[in-house]
């Protein structure tokens, strides 16, 4: 297990030595992009209002608060990761079209994303789920927001972050997939355990 700090813009060479299970921290820009942003780019072919090449996206829907007396200026209250698997359907195309290098979220992503990470040299990493105040404390400034018409959780929030993490690499540039590996191991154990419990539940008369 290695620990490394990544800085925006991220180069392929920064990512290639990383392996699933490594710990990273991020310096630079982080932009929230979840269901609706993926839908708008990939399904509706709308142009993103932010250039994501070499940057990092965060599968997250934050609680933001407008700063009193500063219209349009926000501070982050709470910003933990959301379930990444929801974006798996579009993520490969999303990586291809945007050139995004680091995808941060929660839980695993599927074969589609792993293929995208391998082909375009990107990685997926997880921030510990639910730890939203911890994450908010790694945000230096919310610089701007785009597509706020989607509502607070779905908008694109552009944040400057410092040592944002811990982030655990879950898919690396070779397409190795930590959660898929874990899932296989869990399922192997499952069969025997279910069988054992089922020996004790013959309640039907």
């Amino acid at each position: 297990m290695k620990t490394k700090i990544l800085t925006i813009p991220i180069q392929n060479e920064d990512l290639e030595p990383l392996t699933i299970g490594d710990i990273i921290y991020l310096n630079g820009y982080l932009v929230t992009s979840r269901d609706d942003v993926h839908q708008r780019l990939i399904k509706q072919h709308k142009k993103l209002p932010i250039d994501l090449a070499g940057k990092a996206i965060f599968h997250a829907g934050p609680i933001m608060q407008e700063i009193e007396g500063q219209s349009g200026k926000y501070r982050v209250i709470s910003i933990g990761p959301t379930t990444s698997m929801r974006m798996d359907k579009y993520e490969k195309q999303f990586i291809g079209e945007t050139g995004v290098k680091l995808i941060i979220g929660k839980g695993g992503m599927g074969q589609n994303t792993a293929a995208g990470c391998r082909e375009y040299k990107a990685i997926h990493a997880v921030f510990p789920g639910g730890c939203a105040v911890l994450a908010a404390n790694c945000v230096e400034e919310v610089e701007r927001v785009e597509w706020l018409d989607l509502g607070m959780p779905e908008a694109m929030w552009v944040m400057r972050v410092k040592e944002f993490g811990p982030l655990i690499v879950s898919i690396d540039t070779r397409g190795n997939n930590l959660f898929e590996n874990n899932k296989k191991a869990f399922n192997l154990k499952k069969e025997a355990l279910v069988k054992e419990i089922c020996q004790h539940v013959d309640y039907l008369e």
Partner: protein, 299 residues
């Protein structure tokens, strides 16, 4: 106090109670997480538990919702037939949610179906969700609040099994769902299982099972035994905090049941994440309150 003053007081209490729920875990959940944390010895599991407890500390110090997903607000109301505000509880809870959304602040989570618009105040059609139980000869209301986040709602499932699939079918469904969807739902999880005759009863009971304190057991000896067996079995899979492997998988397994139809075994499954924001408040006829889930809580 006239009715208007009583209603204002009720709204104020419930708004502050709702905000409080977003910032502090109930005593039983906190104690269970502490117990599970010390059993871990791998680097990844320790990193995740350290992050969780640091987050709880920061949420307290900085007075913020501990998870950004403050959920769809659900109230499970046990209402005394002589509770003075019985006619206004629903209106009062909607107002309390609007107030709490600003006061928290809570995330805007109510999206109207078909219009696909976020209402921006956590109130929408049939939301906050209110579940009613009538308590005869009582002038009190006991209200359980649950913040149903997206992540922990995703593994939810309900199905009607054929009786010859037996209770074995129930066990299999639970294990299949937890090892696939459950791992992304912020484990260690609280697992709620409902068993009944039709799908909506089973689903509702699975959520009510999540409202029971951790450590409590099903009232039927077989139910209690099945809870213990499924809990031990899921823990033996060693899903670990955040699904990153570890010594355990769940905070608990709770089953609630209703008599079934001879031709069906319906099963419902609901999951709660480690950040299980569930709270219970009792309000009497004078609008004095007691928070049962969080000892020493001050609103």
């Amino acid at each position: 106090m006239d009715t208007k003053e009583q209603l204002e007081k009720f709204i104020d209490i419930m708004a502050r109670f709702t905000v409080y729920t977003s910032k502090y875990l109930p005593d039983d959940v906190y104690a269970k997480l502490k117990e599970l944390r010390v059993k871990e010895d791998t680097a990844l599991a320790k990193i995740v538990y350290d992050a969780m407890f640091e987050d709880l500390k920061l949420a307290d110090q900085q007075d913020r919702p501990l998870c950004q997903d403050t959920g769809i607000i659900q109230y499970f109301v046990q209402i005394g037939t002589r509770f003075p505000l019985i006619d206004q509880v629903e209106v009062g809870l909607c107002e309390a949610v609007k107030k709490a959304t600003i006061l928290g602040p809570l995330r805007h989570n109510a999206v109207e179906v078909f219009d696909e618009e976020n209402t921006g105040n956590n109130v929408g059609k049939r939301i906050p969700w209110i579940d009613w139980e009538i308590v005869p000869d009582s002038d009190e209301a006991t209200i359980s609040l649950y913040m149903a986040g997206g992540g922990c709602s995703l593994p939810g499932i309900a199905r009607v099994l054929m009786p010859l699939e037996g209770y074995e079918g129930v066990v299999k469904l639970v294990f299949d769902q937890i090892t696939s969807y459950g791992i992304n739902a912020c484990p260690p999880l609280l697992v709620g299982i409902g068993i009944a005759g039709s799908v909506e009863v089973a689903a509702k009971l699975s959520k009510k099972a999540l409202l029971r304190p951790i450590g409590s057991r099903n009232s039927h000896p077989r139910g209690a035994e099945l809870e213990t067996r499924i809990e031990a079995g899921l823990n033996a899979i060693k899903i670990g905090p955040g699904g990153l492997t570890g010594e355990n998988s769940v905070m608990g397994v709770h089953i609630e049941e209703a008599a079934r139809h001879p031709a069906t075994i319906a099963v419902g499954l609901s999951t709660g994440c480690w950040a299980h924001r569930r709270a219970v408040i009792k309000i009497n006829a004078d609008m004095e309150y007691e928070i049962i889930s969080h000892r020493g809580a001050v609103l």
